[in-house]
């Protein structure tokens, strides 16, 4: 409704008069500024999430030693620097929550959805720029609220990022009341922001494409963001509904998940994972899309099997709705359902496999330029494969009996979310950095950062598979309590040291990001010699993006085309053989 008030030409007139600082950089309706706002916000949350991970790792590696500088924490968290189990549980909960909802999701969807969709489609801005701004500020408020939870009495939510009822439903079981409520409110508010964003992306992709930008000329990054937006749109309201029910259980005494008065405990899990599995794909599909763009650019070759890549994306998005039960094999759910979910889960692995082979096919017979984004993209493929393959173990229900809720799962999720999504984010940030800020990030530092991250990342997460195979449970505050886990202490220490190193080398990235903003080499319009529409405009692009509406003549991956001398052929370049889309008729 509010949207009906939005002007049709979002950008055209606005440029005419000078905007105040506040309107230009804070309450901006420019999709590029909003994308950068999301970027900065998510990096801060990435740092918070990482710090929490370090505390968790310290406790697991050195359970008998106080946390360095832990004395600075209040007594209710870490008396004398010794983490309390309840605080550890809060850390585990919040590490997951922050990383999933406030780091990776906004990084992929918020940052690149905003930044790339209008630019790559030849649109002046989003369909609803004011809604877009509201979306950011609502997400930002949700983030502040989420962090505020650490300061309430009873501590922050401690029932895991999955917030399984009844642990999350009744303060008696955790001692947490306000924290859990804040968690639920924040998630519901963030959900609102996500839905607003998704609605914007979908409308923009459908309606604001430049002439000639047909569906199958859209870059895979845009396809992926589009499909992701649909998933966000449909999955998030499920979580919001569930969160509201749980919030009412906590506050006004409803009984949705209260088994003592007609409610059902397992209903929460069904609702959560019915949202949660599409969410998993929300966290990886945009990464896959952007990596496809970058690998084609790095390999100087068209994406191998563009159409099958698109269909793989779409089929993952469809199948993503019928596999949620594989998170619940051991939950007491009907075992026959377990069989169905196992088969659907096995099937969903196929499109992922297709994508991996197509990326390899793209590199095959290419002329690969290993610029930093390309390094991270190849790293993404290499790591995502491990995450995908380890998923097959837990898809097999009998094997899952053993590895469910062990570190094998932790390894798996980090291979997908860190090795996958975060490597793709590093790739995408370095790739589009020159467009965003007009300067190149330092390539040498970038390469050192990549190799160190790649090394320490694998040292951190690969051994977690072995922990899982030895039966090491997740979310365990002190593994030394179990005799069968005691021999794993050295491995845990090794992982902790690796994780600390991994965290430390991210300073390189942060420094490179900040320094390049001011001192980086000036980037031209098209530093990577890429084909997309965003590379036809200045870096950074002006308000309104395109001086005149661009016309698209071909797909986004015409690298090394025999038609031209150079090894790239921009989407907007008109060759003698090209026909104007307007002239070609509808």
């Amino acid at each position: 409704m509010a949207t009906s008030a939005v002007s049709l030409e979002p950008a055209a007139h606005v440029e005419a008069h000078e905007l105040s600082f506040l309107r230009k950089y804070i309450f901006s309706t420019d999709h590029k500024i909003i994308g950068i706002q999301f970027l900065l916000m998510s990096f801060v949350f990435l740092l918070f999430g990482g710090l929490m991970a370090m505390m968790i790792r310290w406790q697991l590696g050195f359970p008998e030693r106080p946390l360095p500088a832990g004395q600075l924490l209040p007594e209710t968290m870490a008396p004398g620097g010794i983490l309390l189990p309840e605080f550890y549980n809060s850390l585990v909960t919040m590490h997951g929550t922050i990383m999933v909802f406030f780091a990776i999701m906004p990084l992929l969807v918020g940052v690149f959805g905003n930044y790339l969709i209008p630019l790559k489609l030849g649109a002046p801005d989003m369909a609803f720029p004011r809604l877009n701004m509201a979306s950011f500020w609502i997400a930002f408020s949700a983030g502040i609220l989420m962090m505020a939870g650490f300061f309430v009495e009873g501590g922050h939510a401690a029932a895991g990022w999955t917030a399984y009822a009844p642990l999350s439903a009744d303060p008696e079981w955790t001692g947490v009341s306000g924290g859990q409520q804040i968690w639920l409110l924040s998630i519901a508010i963030l959900g609102l922001a996500s839905i607003m964003g998704a609605l914007n992306y979908i409308t923009t992709v459908v309606n604001l494409r430049a002439p000639g930008m047909t569906w199958f000329r859209m870059p895979l990054s845009i396809w992926a963001l589009f499909v992701t937006a649909i998933l966000v749109l449909l999955a998030i309201p499920i979580l919001s509904g569930a969160a509201i029910m749980l919030f009412f259980d906590q506050t006004i005494g409803t009984h949705f998940f209260d088994w003592t008065d007609g409610g059902q405990v397992i209903l929460w899990q069904h609702l959560f994972w019915y949202f949660g599995h599409p969410e998993v794909y929300i966290l990886i599909l945009p990464a896959m899309g952007m990596v496809s763009d970058i690998i084609a650019n790095g390999s100087r070759k068209p994406v191998f099997g563009y159409h099958s890549m698109v269909f793989a994306l779409i089929s993952i998005a469809f199948l993503g709705w019928v596999v949620w039960g594989h998170h619940m094999f051991q939950s007491g759910m009907n075992p026959t359902l377990g069989m169905t979910f196992m088969i659907s889960t096995m099937i969903i692995a196929v499109p992922s496999a297709i994508k991996v082979f197509n990326w390899m096919g793209t590199m095959w017979r290419g002329n690969i330029r290993f610029h930093v984004p390309m390094l991270h993209s190849v790293g993404f493929v290499a790591m995502f494969v491990i995450g995908g393959l380890s998923g097959i173990f837990m898809a097999s229900t009998p094997v899952d009996i053993y590895i469910h809720d062990t570190y094998f799962i932790v390894a798996h999720i980090h291979y997908v979310l860190f090795g996958g999504s975060l490597f793709a984010i590093f790739a995408a940030v370095t790739y589009w950095y020159p467009k965003m800020f007009g300067r190149m990030m330092n390539s040498t530092v970038g390469k050192v950062h990549f190799w160190l991250t790649f090394l320490f990342y694998n040292m951190t997460f690969f051994p977690m598979h072995d922990l899982g195979i030895a039966g090491h449970m997740r979310r365990i505050y002190d593994p030394s309590q179990y005799e069968f886990l005691q021999p794993l202490a050295p491995l845990n220490r090794f992982i902790t040291v690796s994780a600390l190193l991994l965290f430390t080398v991210q300073i390189l990235f942060a420094a490179n990001f900040i320094m390049s903003w001011f001192k980086g080499k000036k980037a031209g319009e098209n530093p990577w010699e890429a084909n997309g529409l965003e590379w036809t405009v200045a870096s950074p692009p002006p308000h309104g993006n395109f001086a005149k509406v661009p016309t698209v003549y071909r797909g986004p991956y015409e690298y090394s085309s025999p038609l031209v001398e150079e090894d790239f052929l921009m989407q907007t370049r008109k060759l003698a053989s090209d026909v104007d889309p307007a002239a070609a008729g509808p």
């Binding site: 209710t76 309390l84 189990p85 309840e86 609220l145 505020a148 009495e153 009341s177 306000g178």
Partner: protein, 246 residues
């Protein structure tokens, strides 16, 4: 509904004066002289055969079992020669209005040998209750009061201390340890300092009273409550005996 308004929303963290521990020390109230020097002392007796206390299976808690040379039992009804311990005695009527001085000394409760020591403790509103762990293993202290804020905190190591302050009188706040299902304790939270817990010999003393006639109530976790009236003169002392039946 009440819980909603009390705990929910953004404002919870602004008003966390509730019962947070951490600061140590007393309630911060200025020390004032007691209102009088009279005292009530007395005895809690148990008539008849004391019921047997249930044995505790500590076989999976060797550190605790080691502290109990003879098989540990759960001291629910603790009777020695007809004297009943762990009875919470407090003045319920006849007191002049407050405010009463809050002791700066904390009340203490220890977890030792997988039992609460003492099992019953009295604490004033605003007074610190120091909960310590003398066992080299995890205890959690879970209290689900009706008048005060609930808490559920843990002490994974020996030597840890947590301080809690209660904000409203409540008879009694039950404590339990979820790790050791047999561990129970009770804290009587009173708005004045005129309370006591009967010792192993059944005796108790309430002192610092002004002259007057008081109604006194004695509470036991399984045997119920009893009350009695007593009059003391200024600087005098009176005796009172409660007898619980078996």
């Amino acid at each position: 509904m009440r819980r909603f308004w009390v705990t929910s929303c953004l404002f919870a963290f602004l008003g966390c004066g509730g019962g947070d521990g951490g600061s140590g020390g007393g309630g911060g109230a200025a020390e004032t002289a007691p209102l009088g020097n009279a005292s009530i002392s007395g005895m809690v007796m148990f008539s008849g055969d004391a019921p047997a206390n249930p044995a505790i299976d500590m076989s999976e808690e060797p550190e605790c079992a080691a502290k109990h040379t003879d098989g540990p039992t759960n001291p629910i009804v603790s009777v020695t020669d007809g004297h009943l311990a762990n009875v919470f005695v407090r003045v319920v009527g006849g007191l002049p209005g407050g405010p009463y001085p809050v002791p700066s000394e904390p009340a203490t409760i220890d977890q030792n040998g997988c039992l609460y020591v003492p099992r019953v403790v009295g604490v004033m509103v605003g007074q610190t209750l120091a909960i310590t762990n003398s066992d080299p293993l995890l205890h959690n202290i879970k209290a689900v009061p009706t008048e005060n804020r609930l808490f559920n905190i843990s002490q994974p190591r020996a030597g840890m201390t947590s301080n809690r302050i209660f904000t409203a009188p409540e008879i009694m706040v039950p404590f339990e340890c979820s790790v050791h299902g047999w561990m129970n304790a009770y804290a009587g939270v009173v708005e004045h300092p005129y309370f006591a817990v009967s010792g192993a010999d059944g005796s108790f003393t309430i002192s610092g009273l002004p002259a007057g006639t008081y109604q006194v109530e004695a509470w036991h976790e399984t045997l119920g409550t009893q009350s009695g009236d007593v009059t003391v003169e200024a600087d005098g002392s009176a005796t009172l005996t409660f007898t619980f039946g078996g």
